[in-house]
Point group: none
Chain length 206, copies 4
């Protein structure tokens, strides 16, 4: 039996880890300067000081590359305990907005989501590297609020999952639409108004 352990000492020269990093950084740089549609894999390779073949050996195309390059931007997302559900939501939304305010995210994220409408594998990749992480924050925020007593514990797990999805679409969708479609910043004032409506919608007695 041969276990394909990830660090299995494969024969031949190992891939350069530096190249990976250089390519992803060059991709973000090119996204900032040129935007998605004028971004060229040849140009990215040149910026990274790397041959085109090195790039194609790792990523099968523009879409996959940009997903990975953009995904790294979301590594910094986290959910420190700010003491209340409202503060937690405001905090994470502001973090999210700050990332979307960066030009490499603006150009890149929307573009790959667009491409993903026709490419299931790409959609899965986006979900795995970007979306699921964000949804995890929603889950974490909710359980924390339940521990605080701000939200009731869940009864029906299926209903619960549906609500999490809904909240996630509302939060992410609103920030994305504000930032990328309306083209105005999701600043503190806007976030406060948004959080106010969302929270009241979730907690007010019907």
């Amino acid at each position: 039996m041969q276990s394909r352990s990830p660090a299995a000492a494969r024969p031949g020269r190992p891939r350069s880890a530096a190249a990976d990093a250089a390519i992803l950084a060059a991709t973000r740089e090119a996204l900032v300067e040129l935007g998605w549609s004028k971004l060229t894999l040849g140009d990215v390779a040149t910026r990274a000081g790397v041959a085109k073949t090195t790039l194609y050996r790792r990523w099968s195309g523009k879409n996959e590359l940009v997903v990975d390059a953009v995904a790294e931007l979301f590594d910094e997302l986290c959910l420190p305990d700010r003491g209340s559900l409202a503060a937690d939501i405001e905090g994470v939304v502001l973090q999210f907005a700050a990332i979307l305010a960066r030009p490499e995210a603006r150009s890149g994220l929307m573009a790959v989501v667009t491409e993903a409408t026709r490419d299931d594998a790409l959609r899965a990749r986006i979900r795995a590297s970007i979306v699921d992480r964000q949804k995890g924050l929603v889950l974490e925020g909710r359980s924390r609020a339940q521990q605080r007593g701000e939200l009731p514990p869940e009864a029906d797990p299926e209903e619960s999952a549906r609500t999490v999805d809904l909240i996630f679409d509302m939060v992410a969708g609103a920030v994305v639409h504000r930032t990328l479609v309306s083209g105005r910043p999701a600043d503190e004032e806007w976030v406060r108004g948004f959080t106010h409506i969302l929270l009241r919608g979730l907690t007010a007695p019907s």
Copy 2:
């Protein structure tokens, strides 16, 4: 013999009106089959039975063409009075979701919005042909709800505009995110849940 339209005093061969329609239809057809990134102006011209020059004489590029082609899809959006604010919201959200469910809208709309992040003229064109129309529906729905007494009349006009923008971002963003990012349909059940939260957030006493 062809009788010249009396108003067309211009010399030379008049532009074919049929060509415009054929080009836009061919564009939508190509969007469905190929998606944004693989759509080619040469291919569109061929589908429309038209020369490339004819196409370029009317549109300056891919972006402008697709904006116009997609904009026609939103002509059907309207806001019949369904008797209550909740019903009105549900109705228009479902209409919007139905449009976004069509593949030519999925591929095309997102793509031009993406391109618009780096092209102000394109953003203005999109706003004029697509977004403002939607925002008008929000305004219309609110004033109707105010006439019904479901919403209080606005005091501060600036605050009022801010709220309309916020609601618009929340509605459009949630539907778009649900449809294109989460990749699940914005069906009646989902719309009901969304409307419920949104409406309670807007009307519940804090």
Copy 3:
């Protein structure tokens, strides 16, 4: 019925005759500077001030292009009447040697002949544009010598054709081998010696 007359006014912009000439000239220039194996179609296009597509529209590859470029060099071959068979042979052999002394012919001709060993269409093209013209000179020289009485009239036409082929292979082969394999010039002295042997072989009583 559609007659495909060569100057049939086909629709669309006609091909640029200047481009053809520029490409062939650039090809010869590149052959001189770089030789066959380092000659690049992209480079030829650049030298000719022409896009790669323009080149590929006319020639399907390097081989076909070089055949045509080299074939033009042989346009100058002719057979002026020098008064005797010996003088005629010496004259045409010297002409042939002069062409083979040019670097674009050295690199190009041998290379396409080499490629033709595996490509029947290419061999046919070479025969049509280069070889048959040379063989014509052999035929012309023989009939002229027969009129002068230097050679007897042919009896058996089949035998006659075989002899022409043999002489042609001997003449062209010897010059090519001397020039390209032995790498020494086929100068007047060499040509005189060669003509001497050949002529005696053809005319001496056995």
Copy 4:
């Protein structure tokens, strides 16, 4: 002074003799299947069951490799005494033609000669491994004919060398041109005709 004794017991693992043979055989095999221009060193290495580095350690490039691979084909050339100059010439020309009829020789030999027009080192290598051996046969045949009295002894050694070169160019050139350019076999009938003319040219009284 550097003694380069062939079996100088150098430290380290000695080179595999089997690899050399396998590479040359694989080269000929690839020449037959693909021809010169489509032959790749990577493919040769794969066929030989050898790494590319092993190949490059021994040969500096495609040209050198093919020269050596083709040169081995000419090892079988020899000049048995057939009793007369005519028979000797016919015999060796037929041998030469038989080698040129093999596809690995057709593709390979011409190609390296072509390359050699721009590479002096390569030309020297070809001369050493292939051409000089053939010229030796001419010398041998002549001296044998002189012993038989078919040819007069040489007076002027310089004139003698010039004649040998000329004959060699005529013989090799005619066979190569017949085989590779005219594309017809140098069979017995053709060889007889050729030998007849050549021999009469050399021996008939002027």
